[in-house]
């Protein structure tokens, strides 16, 4: 149980709860909240010393953010 693992678990749980029950029920709020569990999972992958998993995960989360921004712009941002 390294500090990274425990902190990553806490951030992952916090981010999941916050994304599921956001303050304002808006696509933008949920999209910004979705970046928090990414950091939690990053710290958990860090505690297992997996370089390739870290790089792949960073690239995939950023690409998914791009795609979701495109989708939200097309729908107009109304839930």
């Amino acid at each position: 149980m390294t500090p990274e693992f425990i902190i990553g678990l806490i951030i992952l749980l916090t981010g999941t709860v916050i994304t599921a029950f956001p303050q304002r029920r808006d696509y933008l709020t949920r999209l910004i909240n979705l970046e928090i569990p990414a950091f939690g999972l990053l710290l958990i992958a860090l505690s297992y010393d997996e370089t390739l998993a870290l790089l792949t995960f960073i690239a995939v989360s950023t690409l998914s953010t791009f795609v979701m921004v495109l989708v939200i712009e097309r729908t107009g941002g109304e839930p």
Binding site: T2, S47, Y48, D49
Partner: protein, 105 residues
């Protein structure tokens, strides 16, 4: 599951920083903590950005102090320029929204 090598146990002598690099590291960490607290407690959104700048100064100093390797210098410069670019974009978009007549407080 990969077995982790145990980190060094805490002893009383380790709490008092001995070498000058350790003292500098502790000073930078305390400044980073102070900057984070001030970012959260500041009520105005635009006035949060100077405190975020203090925080990123402290973090890029810590990056260079932790590993004395030439690549750590590149990491410090990359983090600092990235953080500055981010706050620049946030301030510009916030100001542009205010010029269009949208009231934001």
């Amino acid at each position: 599951m990969v077995q982790q090598a145990p980190r060094g146990c805490l002893e009383v002598e380790e709490l008092i920083p001995a070498s000058p690099d350790q003292v500098a590291l502790w000073v930078c960490s305390l400044v980073a903590l102070y900057g984070a607290v001030r970012v959260i407690t500041e009520p105005d959104t635009l006035r949060k950005l100077p405190f975020l700048n203090v925080f990123s100064f402290a973090i890029s100093g810590i990056i260079a102090l932790m590993i004395p390797h030439p690549l750590a210098l590149v990491a410090a410069v990359a983090y600092f320029v990235g953080s500055t670019f981010e706050s620049n974009a946030i301030a510009s978009v916030y100001a542009g929204g205010m010029e269009k007549g949208e009231h934001r407080e």
